[in-house]
Amino acid sequence: MSIHPTEKVRSDEGHAAPVSESSPVAAPVLSLRGAAVRVGGRTLWSGVDLTVATGEFTAVLGPNGVGKSTLVKVLLGLLPAAAGEVRVLGGAPGAHNGAVGYLPQRRSFDACVRIRGVDVVRLGLDGDQWGIPVPGLGRAKRRAARERVAEVVELVGASGYAHRPIGQCSGGEQQRLLIAQALIRRPQILLLDEPLDSLDLPNQSAIAALLGRICHQEGVSVVMVAHDVNPILHHLDRVVYIAEGGALAGTPAEVITSETLTRLYRTPVEVLRTSGGRLVVVGQPEAPALHSDRHAGHGTGGGHAAGL
């Protein structure tokens, strides 16, 4: 399958997001224009156009190996874009990383890690500073830091276990603490790489709801890489669907349809909506995969089930 030209689907009616990107005053927190990335001489994707406004929840969807995590690395300035323009908070990627919270792909702490959750959260605040906290020095500053840690731990609902060693927390609890760590500096953008991976279904929807709340109530723009759209579907403002080479951006209603995905993949793709409102993306020739066995080989653009 060759590289697709980018198609941008965006209805003229606009969508219901509170802060629309069409608003003349609000500069986008994040914009990509004709962006492409090359890793090891291979173009992973090209012609990606995306604009994210303040307080929007964006999901980056697509099959495995298509370069979703690479997009996050480009936004962090860890990888250069091979073409096009990428702006993050009005500057080059990486220039304002202090205002970007980042959750890398699954990190889980070993059961033997005997460091409290609050200490891990605290590292998000001042972990990049040299030296050690000296007892008795900067009392007011340290009280402020402690209060901020407590506040952000409360925000993610982790107060009950934040003082336990993080290695003894469950996967969902660790994920909440790591989200708190990413939020502690009041970032304007939160980048998350598959944060729902390896969580059970109740935890998936709880974390998705938490992210939606952070996004819409705290005004943090959330960009989240996901392989299953369903747990986050209700919270989404914008979707980027990356297939081999190309990408589609727009509202979920615009992008996750049989017509647009068929155009993107250049192979028949059907989007079905179950009575419960869940979306199933069915491609040919592979059978739809359960969302839990993401390694079962929907690596090609042709067949991918985005959930069931």
Binding site: G98, P104, D119, V120, G124, G127, R164
Partner: protein, 278 residues
């Protein structure tokens, strides 16, 4: 008792030990946290080989000691990915280095005068009671430097250890920190070799840190506790060894450090619950 305290050899040992022990405690905490204890083990054999190579070549033992431990520390970091050497890399380097050590020991004992034939033993098992005044001063200075350096990089190193990707995104130079830490481990291994010998230095690096981690789950408190335990164990064992000459200081230090570590298993791991309730 007081007679021993006024002896020059004891004062040298106490002074050197008072600085070497916290250096080992601080470095050891991060070695345990980063699961790099095996690196310390490899460096202990490197220390022996470096010292033997210097003696065989007719140089000061300490020159070879530090050049080898710091150099191999950096080499391990360079070979392993992201400044964290993997076990296969360490295993290979370590066996090869130990072979070289045997070679240099043979060269030294066959070509140099037999008068210093005990050098091999003192490198392997340490000779803290045999430090001269000049050796003590240098050991104190290097150990103090290690302590200051570890404290300076402690917070970003903790961040990089627990959360490398996030730390890197925040601008923490994780790779440079990993290398710098291994250089510090190397220097610390050289220091500890003078106190307890290359065969036993791992105990001084691992035992106080392991005990501290079992006793508290606050990182900076554990770091301080690790250094404090190392100093207390050093003092206790030097006194013990001075009072009972049949106990060599290296044995006393290892015995005390291991006993303290073993004792932490008697403390029920309910500290977390208590801090949560507090």
């Amino acid at each position: 008792m007081t007679a021993v305290l006024t002896q020059t050899f004891f004062q040298h040992a106490l002074l050197a030990g008072t600085f070497i022990a916290p250096a080992c405690g601080l470095v050891g905490y991060f070695l345990v946290l980063r699961a790099q204890i095996f690196t310390g083990d490899a460096l202990s054999h490197v220390a022996f080989t470096g010292a033997m190579a210097a003696l065989a070549g007719g140089y000061d033992l300490r020159l070879g000691l530090f050049a080898a431990t710091v150099g191999v520390g950096l080499l391990l970091g360079g070979l392993g990915r992201r400044g964290r050497p993997d076990d296969v890399v360490i295993g290979s380097v370590f066996a090869w280095i130990l072979g070289l050590g045997a070679f240099f020991l043979t060269v030294y004992t066959t070509s140099r005068s037999a008068a210093r034939g005990g050098a091999g033993t003192s490198v392997l098992f340490g000779s803290i009671f045999g430090l001269s005044s000049g050796q003590t001063t240098l050991a104190v200075l290097i150990a103090a430097g290690i302590c200051v350096a570890v404290l300076l990089i402690a917070r970003p190193l903790l961040f990089a250890t627990l959360d490398e990707a996030v730390a890197a995104a925040r601008g923490v130079p994780t790779r440079v920190l990993g290398l710098a830490f291994l250089a510090l481990v190397g220097a610390c291994a050289g220091e500890a070799t003078q106190a307890v010998g290359s065969l036993l230095l791992l105990g001084l690096l691992a035992a106080p840190a392991g005990a501290a981690i079992r006793l508290t789950d606050r990182p900076f408190r554990a770091l301080a506790l690790s250094a404090a335990l190392a100093v207390a164990e050093m003092w206790g064992s030097l006194l013990l060894s001075a009072e009972a000459p049949e106990l060599p200081p290296s044995f006393a230090i290892m015995a005390t450090a291991s006993a303290v570590y073993a004792a932490t298993f008697l403390v029920r791991p309910n500290r977390a619950l208590r801090t949560a309730a507090a």
